[in-house]
């Protein structure tokens, strides 16, 4: 049966794969009434085929029911729906609720792990969790303290649990996991604590560790083949990472893996990005610091890397490369190509051929991006594939104890983890963005295990000489690298978007609005103010023939710190940003799921 199913997917290419696609999970992923993964599908498109709620009737949307999570911290991710059950997760302490949609969301079971609260302060930027994953009758939770738990979806009983890292060394988790075939792939956080980060595969049934691939270090630790793993079409060669660090610095090198995972069953490759190198002071870690800030393509069975592409060699601005990789099939110069599109923190929207790692497009997805003039696309050039850094904004060139001013984007990036969506109906990406710039001053720090290892002073503020707001919600043409339309937002858009077959795109705002816009024009069709700011991702499901839209409210995350800082002339500065400075004037802490539907 499995082999037949694989052929049905057109995956005849995969010959020697030891484990085949997870049939049971694929069935749920292909049912638009359900949501089995945070990313909606393996391709991370966040596109739903549901179309009952559409561009002409979305204005009639109303609240169907609500649910309080009982926790007042930043709520990222979204609930899942499998059959008649909804699974809701919370930030630390990472409670899981199973709700019965057949009985007005009655709580069927609740799982609350016991975690040492000392993990809380080790988590950079709030105790968020980007949600659960479902596979083969199990709900998989990856807790803040890096414990991975498989729960029986029906009873909440623990199938197995395994510890992936040590919070005492600064190793924590905020990310969701990727169930793929007979494995579950997990990442790790700790880039501000000098962790040598990695992805790890555990056996889906037993929790036994199968492989671990580091972001930096010796080839065997990274699961990189010097001859077969390529970067921009060429083999990476021996010690490709070690050569780009001074001495043993790779051992505290960062490159964390707290973002999203995508998977292509045809090519049998999984994709993700690695984060910033530690410390934030570039002078203290000479070299390209490979493979931090890198797009990775790995075989999920062995972990072996097929190709890598480093977007920001020798990071000088904390432009973590962890944002999602969205897999689409589109025509480039008249030819069908398997594409991977990625909106990086560094402000460039990249499109690559996901089979080979060939770089096709790298364009700014916010015009204010200024730290590099462009990415060198000349294949004959020595700097091919590298950003051409502007000296004025180079914190490396300006050096320690010098404040480099007016760098766009800020360290939180033109886009952070909040995932974009893609509609195959419009061939457009819908991207929640930050419109924030910064001053950045690196200085010398010492490393202590389990302690932050930052080494730079930052101040962030709305992009100058623009609309004064700190965010945009844009539609992006990934093949041509162009913005199609852009909606200005008062605050950073820190919520994951959802595109639907009903020609509607949904997203949330930090003030707490759920917004619905027209997928072709960006015109606002509906908005509703939920009890708290939204940093969660919009989801949709269908129950008894009726389509619902759900969103978690609960302001927090890095967005929760407020962003107008470091103004050198407070009066001029606040004149411009005025009311935007304090998010607390617009919303308050919360923890609530709001579910919408059309009136009967």
């Amino acid at each position: 049966m499995r082999a037949v199913h694989l052929l049905a997917l057109g995956a005849g290419l995969a010959v020697a794969t030891p484990a085949l696609a997870n049939e049971e999970l694929m069935k749920h992923l292909n049912n638009p009434a359900e949501q089995a993964l945070q990313t909606v599908d393996y391709a991370n498109t966040r596109y739903s085929k549901l179309d009952q709620i559409n561009a002409s009737n979305v204005k009639n949307l109303q609240v169907a029911w609500t649910f309080s999570t009982g926790v007042l911290r930043g709520h990222e991710g979204s609930p899942l729906v499998i059959g008649n059950m909804m699974y809701v997760h919370t930030p630390f302490p990472n409670i899981v609720y199973a709700l019965d949609l057949d009985h007005d969301a009655k709580i069927v079971w609740k799982y609350e792990p016991k975690q040492d609260p000392s993990v809380i302060p080790v988590m950079c930027c709030d105790t968020v969790n980007r949600g659960l994953a479902y596979a083969e009758g199990a709900i998989i939770l990856h807790q803040a303290d890096t414990t991975v738990v498989s729960l029986d979806a029906k009873s909440g009983k623990v199938n197995w649990s395994v510890v992936n890292g040590d919070p005492k060394k600064g190793e924590t988790n905020t990310a969701t996991v990727l169930p793929v075939k007979d494995k579950v792939i997990v990442g790790i956080s700790g880039g501000e604590f000098g962790v040598q980060c990695h992805v790890t595969a555990y056996d889906l049934k037993s929790g036994k560790k199968v492989w671990r691939g580091y972001s930096m270090g010796p080839d065997d630790q990274m699961l990189v083949d010097p001859e077969k793993t390529t970067a921009l079409g060429k083999p990476v060669g021996k010690d490709s990472s070690l050569k780009t660090w001074e001495g043993d610095q790779w051992k505290t090198g960062g490159g964390c893996t707290w973002g999203w995972f995508s998977y292509d069953p045809k090519l049998d490759l999984m994709y993700y990005g690695s984060g910033n190198p530690s410390t934030w002071n570039p002078k203290q870690r000479p070299g390209d610091n490979k493979w931090s800030m890198t797009i990775w393509a790995r075989n999920p069975d062995t972990g072996m890397a097929k190709w890598v592409y480093q977007m920001t060699p020798h990071d000088e601005w904390d432009y973590d490369g962890i944002n999602e990789m969205i897999l689409t099939d589109q025509k480039v110069d008249g030819k069908d190509r398997p594409l991977l599109t990625h909106f990086d923190r560094n402000g460039f929207g990249y499109t690559l051929d996901r089979a080979t790692g060939e770089l096709l497009v790298a364009e700014k997805f916010d015009p204010v991006v200024n730290w590099a003039t462009k990415v060198d696309m000349d294949k004959g050039s020595k700097t091919f594939g590298r950003p051409l850094v502007v000296s004025k904004y180079s914190t490396e060139q300006n050096g320690e104890d010098t404040n480099s001013k007016g760098i766009c984007p800020a360290a939180l990036g033109t886009k952070d983890q909040q995932p974009a969506a893609f509609s195959p109906k419009t061939n457009l990406f819908y991207v929640p963005t930050n419109h924030v710039c910064m001053d950045y001053e690196p200085f010398r720090v010492t490393y202590t295990p389990g302690q932050p290892y930052v080494g730079a002073t930052l101040s962030m503020y709305p992009a100058p000489n623009s609309h004064g707001g700190m965010g945009n919600f844009i539609a992006w043409d990934g093949v041509n690298g162009k913005i199609k339309w852009s909606n200005a937002e008062q605050f950073s858009v820190w919520s994951g978007a959802l595109a639907t077959a009903g020609d509607v795109v949904f997203y949330g705002t930090l003030e707490g609005y759920l917004k619905a816009v027209d997928s072709k024009t960006g015109k606002e069709l509906y908005k509703f103010k939920t009890p708290s700011g939204i940093i969660g991702n919009v989801m949709t499901y269908s129950h008894k023939g009726k389509q619902y839209v759900g969103i978690l409210s609960g302001v927090g995350g890095w967005a929760g710190i407020g962003l107008a800082a470091g103004l050198t002339d407070p009066n001029a500065g606040l004149g411009a940003v005025g009311g935007y400075a304090a998010l607390s004037n617009y919303t308050n802490l919360g923890g609530q799921l709001t579910v919408f539907t059309l009136p009967n």
């Binding site: 709030d126 934030w280 200085f443 202590t448 002073t457």
Partner: protein
């Protein structure tokens, strides 16, 4: 020691600063005007500063030793001059260290966040000893709906070597001597600060 004669002008200081009592007694009779070089000169137009006159008086520097200012209780304090443009080295250094080590939780300019208190307010009440104690030992406030935990920075040189700098900066924010700004100008880095940094970070 140079400035001890000026301390004499403020009788209440003598009671607190026990170490200086004898000096005070000697100089008590020749009352001179306050040392203008110790007075703060704030930016009168900075609406982001939230000036607190009581705290400004309490935190006023009464002596300076090699670029480090001290209040009447003998604790480090800030020194602001040129209409709020220029800050003492420690306040400036505290600004820098704060925006590296603290701001990801406590927000820019000590304004607080959804998960950590606004230190511009906390430092209105916290004593120097309490501040250093929390910095080194951490703090927990865990209930069913909220889990606020501050780590212990006792082993972290990047924080503890600059504990006084952070204190001085946050006192300046709490008293309203400094608004939501990056200090534009600063007094020269004192030799004592250079020496202490080298010893503390290197050891």
């Amino acid at each position: 020691m140079l400035h001890l004669s000026q301390v004499a002008l403020r009788p209440f200081v003598a009671a607190l600063a026990l170490a200086t009592v004898s000096v005070v007694a000697v100089n008590a009779e020749d009352a001179k005007p306050a040392d203008k070089s110790l007075a703060n000169s704030l930016n009168p137009d900075d609406k982001t500063a939230e000036k607190d006159d009581k705290l400004l008086a309490k935190d006023a520097a009464v002596k300076v030793e090699d670029g480090k200012y001290f209040d009447a209780e003998g604790h480090p304090t800030f020194h602001v001059t040129e209409n709020g443009k220029k800050f003492d080295w420690y306040a400036y250094s505290g600004y820098r260290r704060y925006h590296a080590e603290c701001h990801v939780c406590h927000g820019p300019d000590g304004m607080g966040s959804t998960y950590a208190p606004a230190l511009k307010d906390s430092l209105k009440h916290l004593s120097y000893e309490e501040f250093i104690g929390i910095l080194a030992g951490g703090k927990q406030d865990v209930s069913s709906s909220e889990q606020k935990v501050m780590p212990a920075f006792g082993d972290n040189k990047n924080v503890m070597c600059y504990a006084d700098d952070l204190y001085v900066y946050l006192k300046a924010r709490a008293a309203g001597a400094m608004g939501r700004i990056r200090p534009g100008d600063k007094e020269e880095k004192p030799e004592a600060a250079k020496k202490a940094e080298k010893e503390c970070m290197g050891g």
